[in-house]
């Protein structure tokens, strides 16, 4: 395929993190050979995709293999015949003459989706009576259902945040993608920053920040419990280098750090937090392939392989010798494991101390908070580590905790330009003579509290009262507002 290799563009490689796309539905997967993938009620392998350029569209053919699909030729529906309105169209559910079985038979015969749609049109008694617009809508709907093409695209904040919001909003505290977009800009996230991030959004917010920093600068992720969840972060497919300047620090040590009594002696117990728990998707939720299961299978296979190797000879003497050998190598392996564990423990302690030092410099370029926890204690404590004249942004699914946060921040001082906001987002259908906002829209995407740090004044009360005076609206305006609400 000389033509193929001549085309420019990044190619799909084994091990890549990619996103499967069908219309508006996305699923993040890792490209691995001989690994079955379920997406939109179809089973297939990604092997054939390897080597193709990102953006290629595929069809699932028999046996679950992907075949690249050429650009679709326009189906010129010869039927120029159309009605003027729907006054005579009766919906009795009987207008389509093809039955479920008929359609299934067509599918089984391997008839292409395009042809099935054509068949449906020809067998619809009401089609010719529909208006041109209604016919258009009908064809689009059938094409969507029967012409299943899958595109493989590169992951990005845009795609992953849309995916998560559509299908697993609970995992990201219902953070809508445009709200995330606001956070990244309000926070002035850019290459070279030293950022502090506290999120419980499966690592999506962290990933978005890492993308905007491009591997330059550093990030300190604060985490609750045993370790940060970075399932979504893996989906971005960042290079290894991006992770060298990513640090983590337990929330449980924040108080001690702020008060100057930090010690690295007790570390929170650590789960294996770097393995993505499941393939993230906004497709059908029946899909339950878990990578953790798979890695377990792999390690079992390895163990089996090992035991086969050590048990080669068959004589009694050899068996006895083997036995001793087995025991010895087992002991050796145990000692190695313990040493490895100790080494890892030491490494983690060292990193913890290093991260604590980074925080203690109190010169971070910004703070981003997006978690399930009440934001006030997080803000009040973590702002200690941020330099003056730097932005901070807090996301909360609910407005009320941010009201409290705002009030406490005002009392504490050291912040200006506090703003509580939300964004309203609306999608449009744009077609000739049929342009209008879409029927459904998101009811809410969360709230943001943003501000800028300033140097804390020693004469606290003075600064606060002056600032309070300045920040309060003129008396007359205030009275008017209250009147409105009585």
């Amino acid at each position: 395929m000389a033509e193929e290799s001549a085309r420019p563009g990044p190619r799909i490689r084994e091990g890549d993190w990619a996103v499967l796309k069908r219309d508006e539905v996305f699923k993040a997967v890792q490209v691995l050979r001989r690994r079955k993938v379920i997406f939109e009620k179809q089973w297939f392998y990604l092997d054939n995709a390897i080597g193709h350029i990102y953006g290629t569209t595929f069809e699932v053919s028999t046996g679950g293999s992907l075949q690249p699909k050429k650009k679709m030729e326009e189906t010129t529906t010869e039927t120029k015949e159309a009605g003027t309105d729907n006054r005579n169209i009766v919906d009795d559910g009987k207008s389509q003459k093809l039955t479920h079985d008929d359609i299934q038979a067509l599918k089984d015969k391997g008839i292409k989706g395009q042809e099935i749609v054509q068949q449906l049109i020809e067998n619809s008694t009401t089609f010719r009576g529909k208006t041109e617009f209604a016919q258009d809508k009908y064809i689009k709907k059938k094409k969507k259902k029967y012409e299943a093409v899958i595109t493989i695209v590169k992951p990005s904040t845009r795609i992953l945040s849309t995916m998560y919001y559509a299908r697993e909003p609970g995992k990201i505290n219902h953070l809508r993608y445009d709200t995330l977009a606001q956070m990244l800009t309000l926070g002035n996230i850019r290459a070279g920053n030293k950022m502090i991030v506290m999120e419980t959004c499966a690592g999506l917010v962290l990933g978005a920040i890492m993308e905007r920093m491009g591997g330059h600068g550093s990030i300190i992720q604060m985490y609750p419990g045993g370790g940060p969840v970075r399932a979504a972060t893996s989906c971005f497919g960042f290079p290894e280098s991006f992770f060298r300047t990513l640090y983590e620090f337990p929330l449980s040590k924040v108080c001690s750090l702020v008060s100057g009594t930090f010690s690295s002696e007790t570390l929170p117990s650590e789960p294996d937090y770097n393995v993505p728990v499941e393939e993230e998707s906004n497709g059908s939720l029946e899909e339950k392939q878990t990578l953790i299961q798979e890695t377990e299978v792999e390690s079992n296979t390895e163990a089996v392989m090992e035991s086969i190797e050590t048990g080669d000879q068959e004589t009694m003497d050899d068996l006895a010798a083997e036995d001793a050998e087995c025991k010895e190598s087992k002991e050796r392996r145990n000692k190695e494991n313990i040493r490895e564990k100790q080494r890892k423990q030491q490494e983690r302690k060292r990193k913890l101390v290093e991260t604590a030092a980074l925080l203690e410099e109190k010169n971070a370029d910004g703070l981003i908070v997006a978690s399930k926890f009440h934001p006030t204690p997080l803000l009040l404590s973590l702002l200690e580590f941020v330099a003056p004249s730097r932005p901070f942004v807090v996301y909360c699914q609910y407005k009320e905790p941010l009201l409290d946060c705002y009030t406490k921040l005002r009392e504490k001082g050291g912040v200006i330009n506090l703003k509580l906001s939300e964004t309203w987002l609306r999608n449009y259908q744009v077609l000739p003579d049929r342009s209008h906002p879409k029927l459904m829209m998101s009811g809410g995407g969360g709230y943001l509290l943003s501000g800028i740090t300033v140097t804390m004044e020693k004469v606290q009360s003075d600064a606060n009262s002056l600032e309070a005076q300045k920040i309060e609206e003129p008396a007359s305006k205030k009275r008017k507002l209250e009147e409105l609400h009585c």
Binding site: R7, G9, P10, Y54, G55, T56, K71, T151, S156, T157, R158, D178, L180, A181, Q182, L184, T185, L186, N188, R190, A191, E211, R212, G214, H216, N363, S389, R390, P391, K399, E400, L402, L403, D404, Y406, T407, I416, N417, K419, L420, S421, E422, T423, W424, L425, R426, N427, Y428, V430, P432, S435, I452, T453, T455, E457, K470, I471, E473, K478, H485
Partner: protein
């Protein structure tokens, strides 16, 4: 490269001669200032003398002015710049800029084409996002505006990240071919520039965005995008709702007292005719609560944002 002061794309701690700093007076009142040795800036709180009050001070510091009042000096950011820049045209604000940045998938290293440059609001935001390895090619057909933009980029020490061209994008395109990851259009007739946008974008694909206030413009643009083979065409709009945090006191209405019965005086909570027990827990006086109160007026429309993807397929 620390010798070049790049405060718009990199944070520094102290104010230096030549910096553009933001003077914050309180409650959304602020303005930019060009820091210069010997310079003086008038504020309603008095004079700020650059040499003594600004240069060498830490960003975020409080500065007392000659009349005794004080201000804060802030580090410039594209967002603060957007709120304070001199308008030569209607500008894009941070709400739309945020969405554009994310939907165009901008990041360090991205190559972006933009037209029109206008007052440079979006331009500064793009430059910040694509730095240090990306580039912005911006086209403006108005000569003075193009020159003013060029001037500002130089003042802000970001000229190495941007190229300004004074030409008509609809006739002559962006001046580059097949290099851009993203194209942004904010012009009266974007449908006339779609073809040029397509050729400016990399062969393997990229993203495009067109911003138009009127739906008729959007319709024509979507059609042009489709005709040129763009996919994933999607139009949306984003609006910002701001809330003021206020402690509100509502007066409890006086509903009077029930008629007294024979057993005597006084109300206690078990008395059925007691207004408090009938109508809730509120006592006399006022009830106070914290509220996020929307503003009386909000921006209801800026423009429609249409995004699309250029793909090989």
């Amino acid at each position: 490269n620390k010798t070049i002061t790049m405060s718009f794309v990199e944070y520094r701690d102290t104010i230096k001669d030549g910096d553009t700093a933001i003077v914050f007076l309180g409650h959304e009142s602020m303005f930019p200032v060009k820091v210069q040795h010997g310079g003086k800036t008038q504020t309603k709180y008095g004079v700020i003398r650059h040499s003594t009050d600004l240069i060498g001070k830490r960003y975020g510091s409080k500065v007392t002015c000659s009349k005794g009042g004080w201000v804060f000096i802030l580090h410039p950011t594209p967002e603060l710049w957007t709120m304070n820049l001199p308008h030569r045209t209607q500008i894009l604000y941070s709400t739309d800029i945020s969405l554009i940045t994310m939907m165009l998938e901008l990041k360090p290293g991205s190559i972006v084409c933009e037209s029109g440059t206008g007052s440079g609001s979006l331009s500064h935001a793009i430059i910040r996002t694509v730095a240090p390895t990306g580039h912005l090619y911006t086209v403006e057909f108005h000569q003075q505006r193009a020159e003013k933009a060029e001037e500002e980029f130089q003042e802000h020490k970001v000229e190495h990240l941007v190229t300004v061209k004074n030409q008509d994008v609809c006739k002559n395109g962006f001046g580059v071919s097949n290099v851009a990851d993203a194209v942004f259009l904010d012009i009266p007739s974007p449908w006339e520039a779609i073809g040029h946008a397509k050729s400016a974008l990399k062969i393997e694909g990229g993203r495009i965005c067109s911003f138009s206030p009127c739906i008729e413009q959007v319709q024509r643009t979507c059609l042009a995008m489709e005709e040129h083979g763009f996919t994933e065409i999607n139009t949306l709009e984003s609006l910002l709702r701001v809330y003021n945090v206020r402690t509100v006191s509502l007066q409890i209405p006086d509903l009077g007292k029930a008629a007294e019965d024979n057993s005597g005086t006084g109300f206690d909570s078990s008395n059925q005719s007691n207004p408090e027990s009938l109508y809730g827990i509120l006592q006399q006086g006022t009830a106070q609560f914290k509220s996020g109160v929307p503003l009386k007026e909000m921006v209801g429309h800026t423009g429609y944002l249409t995004f699309a993807t250029k793909s090989l397929f």
